[in-house]
Symmetry: C2
Subunit: 255 residues, 2 copies
């Protein structure tokens, strides 16, 4: 039986710049099992898919105990490392975010995403206030003597459409990355960025392995690898693919 | 806001011999919402899909409180009538089955499936012992002054392969149907039967509207209507379709 620490070490080692870990995001135990069988090296949830499957809106509307019970069932149904999308930590205060991480660890997770925007409106938190939250998470992990991959997500590129993205935003993103790294983050997740040159600039200068979320607008996986990305997430994509097949078949059966 | 009783009446009225109600089975709130949008007239769960999505084997291995919480979320996320697959009633004793129905009603269901085989090995229960269970369900429904569609599933045709099915089994099935109808059942669910002449014989002589589960081996929907079927279920099919799409996309992303 592989231990929590071994799984976390395995997960850290999978973050290789230029040979990215691919996370085809799951939402429940059943989808996680299928994704494992399809050849995944790790399982990560996406909060939008989890919330939608449970009938809730995204943005911490899914009660936290359901999110934790769900990640526990996922961890019990796979031998792979499991990372939980903790959204914005289910609370503003560092202690609340530390409690969320503690629950994720107890449920069997070896890593998490934590985002620096407010769940209510998506606006960015003060960078130092957010760093204090990451520091509290790291302290909680250390106190538990476990290994845990904190993937610091910055929503700089979610503040405006892709046509407005520029190098100043890359600078803002990297400034945050430096501060989050010092607070104890292990990875930098930058959803929303799609342009080759911006991704390349982030990957070249980030102090942390860079995670990009794929969409119709992003470069191919091969190109993302060339640009220096270390982790690729599919976010809501896998759930949408499954639901698209369901809808098509349902329409055909119900017409 | 449509009441429980109105939804149940609506559901009863959808069972029309020759113009069957089509139930494209859901497993969670998210899938139920998509199936509603695709044009469904009612939502019904299939226990295999629900258990699999939660990471459990079928056969009442999914803890009952999770099954109830799941059906409650489904009922809260749709305006359609919701029928719950109660498997074999989560208990042998009539009181236990009555309790299961009470929980389903409280969670918002207006109907259920109840099967006459044992969850452990799939063998058939004594017909009178099972009728006592249905009678207890009906008494519970009446005591609550609600309307509830009890779909009595008989597993006569699940006892052996389709090549062994014959008219003696139709007689056994109909004998059970008569007894279940007198105990308070509203519908007869006969999964596993696939041959036109056997389906036609059941539909011609059943005291209750007949429900057939479609598979690769069953006649087309149009033909099932001609044969006198009043309700068509897809069982695990919809979940498998969604997972097939997920697996294909996962393999492509992870290769």
């Amino acid at each position: 039986m592989i231990t929590q620490i071994e799984k976390a070490q395995q997960f850290h080692a999978l973050h290789i710049k230029g040979a990215p870990l691919v996370l085809f995001n799951a939402w429940d135990a059943g989808s996680a099992k299928e994704i494992e069988k399809a050849g995944a090296k790790a399982i990560a949830t996406g909060s939008w898919s989890v919330a939608t499957a449970y009938g809730f809106d995204d943005g911490e509307k899914l009660p936290f105990d359901l999110a934790i019970a769900n990640i526990q069932r996922i961890a019990q149904n796979t031998q792979l490392p499991v990372s939980m999308d903790l959204e914005s930590g289910y609370g503003d205060a560092p202690e609340q975010v530390a409690n969320a991480v503690a629950a994720a660890i107890q449920a069997g997770a070896i890593g998490c995403n934590i985002e620096d925007s407010f769940p209510a409106d998506g606006s960015l938190r003060d960078v130092h206030a957010h760093a204090a939250r990451i520091k509290a998470m790291r302290a909680e992990v250390d106190a538990r003597k476990v290994n845990f991959f904190i993937n610091a997500r910055t929503d700089v590129f979610f503040q405006s459409g892709a046509d407005t993205h520029n190098m100043a935003m890359v600078d803002a993103c990297l400034q945050r990355a430096e501060i989050y790294a010092r607070a104890g983050a292990n990875g930098l997740f930058v959803p929303g960025v799609v342009a080759d040159e911006l991704i390349a600039a982030i990957a070249a200068r980030s102090p942390l392995p860079v995670n990009v979320m794929v969409s119709q607008a992003t470069p191919t996986r091969a190109r993302l690898a060339e640009l220096g990305v270390a982790r690729i997430s599919y976010g809501p994509g896998p759930y949408r693919i499954a639901m698209k097949a369901l809808i098509d078949a349902a329409k055909s059966a119900l017409q």
